[in-house]
Symmetry: C2
Subunit: 260 residues, 2 copies
């Protein structure tokens, strides 16, 4: 993948020639990282020589790519033992509205440590999103969520109080809130608005999630409505990026192409 | 939001009482950060006193929350001038398949610096995802993408060669590849598989994206198919998390509830 600019390309500025080894290592690291995320390299990674041949790069470029992935925590490297996968992620589907336990079915047991379960008056922004009057109380939950005993996310949840107060009587340690909401509301959930970004975990959140300060996390805001359109559940979720991959399929449908 | 455990909650272990100021500051920071991402606080943030009143927390808790947000780069604080928004993001829709220029319509002008545009034989994993024979060449692009002159993402793209070679003759600096693919293929795109995670930018990628080493980025793998199901475009995209928010709406439809 040491690339040369295509001499057949007419009529456009010659692309900037990359020269740094890091530029050559990046695509190698990206493909190997994604292969790990996809569940590959079960018996360990191929040798540096094999990777160099497969990627058509130098061994030094392979080593630079693997150094990056080791720094990111994806692989271990040891003389004689070779290169092994240090870390796997689980898939969180983006294309249907599911709670963590629902989406991680088959991966292991999800359990929640309920850090806070209380009634409070939320800030005005939260009240507006939940379409509540100012000073109307909500139920506020903080849950640290575990998959097979390992911390994977920290969820802050604001619930409309009629539903939230009923939820406080339910088992919040082994259930997602979604099916509980549907049970106490007596109707299904409809849809949710997602806002997703990446962040470096602050020291205290990192300690709570059992990761290093500054480690990458996914930060999700999710506003969930009942099927009658009423917003009932507003969550702020920190997910460990070393444990969770968001997956979805998106369609070109409904797109107004600029070039019909 | 200094919360007390709800004494009305029967039959469940008493939640762990949070005591750290960071635990109280986190939900305040989350709501303020999201308000900024949503486009709020146009004229600056309210005073610490006002925020303390709105969030029903102490001024010290407000200050701890704002210290976090300043560290993350979202706000500036100055005596007398108060607290102002330092950074805004643009929305990248997750619910339909769009190129960056298509999704950022209305935000400004997207331009691409083409760093590499070449023909190469991809590694076996890439060939498999594109359903190509081993040793079949692809077109490989590296584009640094800018919104109104500011770097926002670095995209590594593998294209099936029949389409890719035709794309090399198109204007890659001002166009997304999606409409170009549709033009040269003579048919619309169908759908794409997304795999999205967060990462801390390595030093060289960070320098390329004009952010600090270790700054949070969104890492997206996207495999895009024509409407006949043929995969033609595999991309590895690094997006600056301080500039791009992923947005979508998901529906509960098709979900098999555990609690019918």
């Amino acid at each position: 993948m040491e690339s040369t600019t295509d001499p057949t390309q007419p009529g456009h500025p010659v692309p900037t020639r990359r020269t740094a080894r890091a530029d050559n290592a990046r695509p190698v690291a990206d493909v190997i990282r994604q292969t790990i995320v996809d569940g590959g390299f079960d018996g360990g990674l191929p040798s540096d020589d094999t990777l160099a041949r497969e990627f058509r790069v130098s061994r030094n470029t392979v080593r630079a790519a693997l150094a990056l992935l080791r720094e990111e925590g994806w692989i271990d490297r040891a003389p004689r033992l070779g290169t092994t996968v240090a870390q796997r992620t689980v898939d969180h589907r983006l294309d249907s509205l599911r709670g963590l336990k629902e989406t991680l079915t088959g991966y292991g047991e999800v359990r929640n440590t309920v850090r806070v379960a209380t009634v409070l008056v939320p800030p005005p922004v939260v009240a507006r999103k939940l379409e509540l009057a100012a000073d109307e109380p909500v139920v506020y939950l903080e849950r640290l969520r575990h998959l097979d005993g390992e911390t994977i996310s920290l969820d802050l949840t604001y619930l409309a109080s009629d539903i939230g107060v009923a939820l406080l009587k339910q088992d919040l340690e082994t259930n997602d809130v979604f099916p509980l909401i549907e049970r106490v509301a007596g109707r299904p959930l409809g849809d949710a608005d997602l806002s997703l970004t990446a962040a470096a975990a602050d020291a205290h959140s990192a300690a709570t999630l059992d990761i290093a300060a500054g480690a990458p996390i996914l930060l999700l805001e999710r506003l969930t409505r009942l099927d009658d359109g009423r917003p009932v559940d507003l969550e702020y979720i920190r997910m460990r990026a070393d444990r969770i991959t968001m997956r979805g399929t998106v369609s070109r449908t409904h797109h107004e192409s600029e070039n019909p």
